[in-house]
Amino acid sequence: MNYVLIFIGAAIVNNFVLSYFLGICPFLGVSTDLKKAMGMGLAVIFVMMIAAATTWPVYHKILVPYKVQYLEYVAFILVIASSVQFVEMFLRKYVPPLYSGLGIYLPLITTNCAILGMTLFMVIRDYSFLEGLVFAFGAGSGFLLALFIMAGIRERLNAADIPKPFNGAGIALIIAGCLALVFMGFSGMMR
């Protein structure tokens, strides 16, 4: 039950994009069509899982024993970036189809604020390793969900008659705001 709560909490109630406003740049940048949004969302889930799986041991097995928790930001960015780099190389060699699918998005999000934010939340909330993984999966799914909704709306916007001053980034930000308002409706569901 705890895992389900963590998942739903991260994916919907405290959606990373629409409640915490983390990872806004890929959210606005890659939400122009559904296919790209799909690729990006899956890549985010993937990187979040890797980030959770690597930062948890780094924090609990290295930083805590040496009492250098204040180095978590640097240490996390380092471990996430290098593990993603490693996975990218690994995929390129052994799973080329997956590499060509995710490959272009992976370097874009290695040290995105949503990823780093997720790992920091995981540490602050004192999740166990498994809870951390579920949390990461939930956060990634929430990102995919937000990106997908946004991309769907923006595809329809292409045919809409938008006043000139709002065109492009303006209308995208307004929609992002409206979506965030909608997601605020979930916030009473759990703490």
């Binding site: 040496y66 180095l71 380092l78 190389m89 690994f90 272009i104 045919a159 008659d161």
Partner: protein, 282 residues
């Protein structure tokens, strides 16, 4: 070893030297970062993929604009497809015939590069169902009762293709999009964007095409003066002795494999009562 480091640090010394937190933090990060960089360096050598030099050379010949006109995600992807997947030469619009020829020589690909050009398979002339005064875009106009034309396969003339064309090869003439074949590179962006799906890429040497997409029969005459009403004279043995075209869904379809000479097509089209057979411009 970890334990030893820990003990050293707890005693406030490291290798006998006095160490405080200010010194420890950078020291820690240096070791920590060093481990990761070493790990990455080793895995780079272990997981190195041998890039095919052929792909690199082909990629260098391509213009490197990553415009996507070839239908691949990037120049690199197209170069790879050329080398491994037998992708068609000459898809690269910016590189043009020069790049295609060079690559063809390099990969010893036989087969000449056939220039393709877009053609709009509508000559206009359909009556209107209603006056449309909404957003000036074909895709928007089409949403209203399948567009303002009686003919559902007609060019709407709001110029979605004109806007998308990077080479200014399309213009609107008398409410119908016309392709200037001398400027057209055959990138196919207009084919994608046309909501009526009436733009097609044809080999430039074929020269003739059927400028109508209406699948109706004789009723076409009631609302369009240029529409093909499937009389079939162009595919009759008299004008089409070599069988270079056949009727399919009330439209003549040119069988590209059988066309040896543009003159055959000119002959097929010469008696068309509505002049639906058109020659490309330029």
């Amino acid at each position: 070893m970890c334990v030893w480091f820990k003990r050293q640090f707890q005693r406030g010394s490291f290798l006998g030297c006095w160490v405080n937190e200010i010194v420890f933090a950078p020291l820690f990060l240096a070791i920590y970062g060093g481990i990761f960089s070493l790990f990455l360096a080793i895995s780079y050598f272990l997981l190195r993929t041998k890039a095919d030099p052929k792909v690199d050379v082909v990629e260098k010949i391509l213009p490197g604009l990553n415009c996507g006109a070839c239908g691949y995600a990037s120049c690199h992807a197209y170069a790879k497809a050329l080398v491994y997947e037998d992708a068609p030469l000459g898809r690269c619009a910016p590189g043009g015939a020069a790049a295609a020829e060079l690559i063809g020589k390099l990969l010893s690909k036989s087969g000449k590069v056939d220039k393709v050009v877009a053609v709009v398979k509508c000559a206009g002339g359909s009556k209107k169902k209603f006056e449309y005064s909404g957003i000036s875009s074909c895709s928007a106009a089409r949403l209203v009762y399948s567009g303002p034309l009686v003919c559902e396969w007609g060019c709407l003339g709001f110029g979605d293709c004109v806007r998308v064309c990077p080479f200014n090869a399309i213009f609107i003439k008398d409410g119908v999009a016309v392709v200037d074949s001398s400027k057209c590179t055959g990138c196919g962006l207009c084919v994608e964007v046309c909501p009526q799906k009436i733009i097609e890429l044809i080999p430039a040497k074929q020269r003739f095409f059927v400028a109508c997409s209406n699948h109706g029969k004789t009723e076409v005459r009631q609302y369009c003066k240029n529409g093909c009403f499937a009389c079939g004279i162009c595919v009759s043995p008299r004008f089409n002795p070599d069988g270079i075209a056949e009727m399919k869904e009330n439209l003549p379809v040119i069988l590209r494999d059988k066309v040896a000479d543009a003159a055959q097509l000119a002959k097929a089209g010469e008696k068309c009562p509505v002049n639906a057979w058109k020659e490309i411009s330029g």
